[in-house]
């Protein structure tokens, strides 16, 4: 191990050199904690955050308008179920496209596996720019550029999936065990095959787990994206809200809750089996 040579072990007690001195504790932790507490208090005051407003919210008469739920409208296929299926389809395509692209990009963006400094910085900067633009804004831009509908939503979510996945996964690669990679290099492997042989097996379970997580995120996000005209169930929710049909909205939300819950359970079960 290189640590062997770069950081020689301290001499044995009583041996030549004697015992090393105990390193002094750094006061940094305390400074950071105190700093965070002060900062939170200060910023809370700046934005006018207080808890009483939140409690008053619950006595608002708006909530009574959510009852009763018109079930015959909610359960009609064309009203809710079909747009919900569209939402599901958007999420599937976006996850596959986003996570697929994220695989090579993540390797390029990790200190451990990047082929060279240039690739590392270019991918890092580009992905940071992509991530700096919120998903809702991507959807708005794309709806403006290619028109209202599921197509724009799918693109927006693909970009969003890519950005999130690359962030999560490249950091996992950073933390991966470097020793198999050293072995692959020592065998004279080129860069990409060495990474494939030495690093991919270690991080693949995380990749699968993150992809399933991104899929869950996409289901929820594609509902939100519908609000800006990017297709799916979100568009229905927005239309009903504009006409103050809050009973219908509650019905839709309940169905969404059931669907998201079921998908999450399947995803958890899959993850347990694959990872």
């Amino acid at each position: 191990m290189t640590a062997d040579a770069s950081a020689p072990e301290p001499a044995a007690p009583g041996g030549p050199g004697g015992r090393p001195k105990k390193p002094r504790r750094k006061p940094l932790t305390l400074v950071v904690v105190v700093g965070l507490v002060l900062w939170t208090w200060f910023t809370g005051r700046q934005v006018g955050f207080d808890l009483t407003t939140f409690i008053d919210l619950w006595t608002n008469p708006l909530w009574q308008k959510f009852w009763p739920i018109p079930w015959e409208w909610v359960l009609d296929r064309g009203n809710v179920i079909d747009p919900l299926i569209e939402t599901f389809q958007i999420a599937v395509v976006a996850t596959v496209v986003g996570c697929g692209l994220a695989l090579p990009v993540s390797f390029a963006m990790s200190r451990l596996t990047s082929p060279n400094g240039g690739t590392y910085w270019v991918t890092r900067v580009v992905m940071n720019i992509v991530r700096a633009v919120p998903d809702l804004f991507w959807a708005k831009i794309l709806v403006t550029a290619i028109g209202i509908g599921a197509f724009a939503g799918t693109w927006a979510l693909s970009i969003f999936s890519l950005a999130v996945m690359v962030k999560l996964f490249s950091e996992t690669i950073d933390g991966a065990d470097p020793r198999p990679l050293e072995a692959a290099r020592a065998a004279g492997g080129r860069h990409v095959p060495s990474v494939r042989a030495g690093v991919l097996p270690t991080v693949l379970p995380s990749y699968v787990a993150y992809s399933l997580y991104i899929f869950e995120l996409n289901i929820r996000a594609s509902i939100v994206l519908g609000l800006v005209g990017a297709g799916g169930i979100g568009r229905v929710v927005e239309a009903q809200r504009q006409y103050f049909r809050f009973g219908r909205i509650l019905g839709i939300l309940l169905i969404i809750f059931v669907v998201v819950f079921v998908i999450e359970q399947i995803s958890v079960a899959l993850r347990r089996r694959l990872v």
Binding site: D4, A5, E182, A187, G188, R196, G198, P201
Partner: protein, 257 residues
């Protein structure tokens, strides 16, 4: 044939790991390197395959200069040097076979190895390597499910799969129990005599060094302080290399196996 001339290595931060080392090793030799932790044993091995660049001097393996070599040259040199690690360095989450195939990386086109489309001939070489270390029955087992001794044999098979002319073993038995240690050392000695592969092994157990070594090299603070036949070695030699008297921690014992 290995030729080191005036090799020095200084790590960032100023630690001098090797100082002005001169060393020649002929084909087929079985050399044991001893020295305390931090004496430069690991650095010496890694200079030979360029994993650690020498800051000074010249290091030639089979006539090819490693110091300052291009990436392509380094890969070519490394492809003929098998390396065995103290902590095995296996990709534990994949099969034994995939680990051994890692030894074929330099000989297989990148597009094939990247997508795992290993040629049948290379799979055959990998299987033969596993047969030679006697664990071919574990070919499709996940590496993490093997014992330490078995994992190290996979490490040896991976090095063998390179069909190397030189084997570098960095404390190959430090993570193993005495009985397994002797089995692994026996494997390495047998491979050396059967296949004539030049072998360089870092050890810190003196009795193992005396038992299996033929030529002994001693390092102290990055300097070569002993180089000679193992038959000429006694406790005084080790005292000279270690700079202190020999203790129970320096021997593996359990010799009655």
């Amino acid at each position: 044939m290995i030729e080191l001339k005036n090799v020095s290595v200084t790590y960032r931060g100023g630690v001098k790991a090797l100082r002005n080392l001169d060393l020649t090793i002929d084909d087929g030799e079985f050399v044991v390197v001893v020295g305390l932790s931090g004496a430069g044993k690991s650095t010496l091995l890694r200079v030979l395959n360029g994993l650690v660049p020498a800051t000074e001097g010249s290091a030639k393996v089979d006539g090819i200069e490693v110091v300052g070599a291009s990436n392509a040259t380094l890969r070519q040199v490394r492809s003929r040097i098998g390396m065995i690690f103290q902590t095995f360095n296996l990709a534990e989450r994949t099969t034994v076979l995939n680990n051994v195939l890692m030894g074929r990386l330099a000989m297989v086109p990148s597009w094939r190895s990247t997508f795992g489309l290993w040629p049948a001939a290379d799979r055959e070489i990998a299987m033969q390597a596993l047969e030679r270390v006697g664990i071919v029955e574990k070919t499709y087992v996940r590496a993490s499910n093997l014992s330490g001794g078995q994992q190290q044999r996979v490490g040896i098979a991976r090095a063998l799969a390179q069909q190397p002319t030189l084997m570098l073993a960095d404390e190959p038995v430090a993570a193993l129990d005495p009985v397994t240690s002797r089995q692994v050392m026996g494997d390495l000695a047998r491979i050396n005599s059967d296949l004539g592969i030049t072998t360089l092994i870092n050890l810190h157990f003196l009795d193992l060094a005396q038992e299996y070594g033929r030529r002994l090299i001693g390092l102290r603070d990055g300097e070569l302080v002993f180089d000679g036949d193992i038959a000429d070695v006694d406790d005084d030699t080790f005292r000279e290399i270690y700079g202190r008297s020999i203790t129970a921690g320096d021997v593996l014992a359990d010799t009655d196996t």
